[in-house]
């Protein structure tokens, strides 16, 4: 997969109309948002889930956040997206929350010990 299939992204935005878009496609506020979007698109391509299923989980995460006081002005959209992504990989038995948590802390450790200006890489010592 060297080129992006624009049709795949278009299908995603049609299936999930809430994705922030401009005339040409999805727009992102920060790099991690694009990464989360890319991971989701990739898992969809792999057949891990169908868009209606994704929409239901994302919608549920947004509702949960709203009832917890999220203003839902669009700025937090990809936070909900990320929560939905973590949930769907857990529900599909791909990655459980405990594993993700372990890697979360390992990356945190890796960032902490990496001098500024060098790429952050995960090493076995980061898992404590």
């Amino acid at each position: 997969m060297t080129a992006i299939d624009p049709a795949a992204a278009r299908k995603a935005t049609q299936a999930i109309p809430s994705i922030p878009c401009d005339a040409e496609g999805p727009v992102f506020r920060e790099p991690w948002e694009a990464q989360a979007f890319a991971i989701t698109l990739h898992l969809y391509d792999r057949g891990l889930f169908q868009w209606p299923e994704w929409a239901a989980i994302l919608g549920d995460e947004i509702k949960k956040a709203q009832s917890a006081g999220d203003p839902d002005t669009g700025e937090t959209y990809y936070r909900h997206w990320l929560a939905a992504l973590e949930r769907i990989v857990a529900e599909k038995g791909v990655a459980d929350p405990a594993t993700l948590d372990r890697y979360f802390h390992a990356w945190d450790h890796a960032a902490d010990r990496t001098p500024h200006g060098q790429p952050i890489e995960l090493k076995p010592e980061d898992f404590r």
Partner: protein
Amino acid sequence: MAGHDHDHDHHHDHDHGSELSETQLRVRALETVLSEKGYIDPTALDAIVEAYEKKIGPRNGAVVVARAWTDPEFKKALLADATKAVASMGHMSRVGDHLVAVENTPQRHNMVVCTLCSCYPWEVLGLPPVWYKSAPYRSRAVKDPRGVLADFGVSLPKETEIRVWDSTAETRFLVLPMRPAGTEGWSADRLADLVSRDSMIGTALAKTPGGAN
């Protein structure tokens, strides 16, 4: 993972270590676990992100540059304190604490490097290009900036000095490219279309009116 508590104290030392935000850490965790399990291919992921890189961020940089070209007072303020000048425009979401604008002139061309995207002013420039984070770019940009520029199709007169700035967690750079000839009387709006992201990293010049499509 809504029930997880990730708000532990992030007291990283900016002088020595690097820092990733809570969301960056969560995305990295997902990416690593999923690629180790063979569900995603990091290269393919890069390709997806690259396809959208120009859609990331408010791309305010071009607006800032165009205003500096048309408003001498603003340009002065920008070169004196870019963080303050950019914040005064009001619509920026969040600008790094120490944004420094460096001006290209016939005598000096500025270029910016850093291997970490966390040290890139994406609030102003959008997502960094994939090559920006690569080790070859970083080391070559320092050793052979003219060669790197040539690779990007930019050739500068021999007399033009090339200054390479190393972006750090504290200080991020915005290159103020030279205003192209033949744009006299243009509005800031129209000028902004000539300002590419790469021209604000210093690996390209501002587009010329003829080449702007």
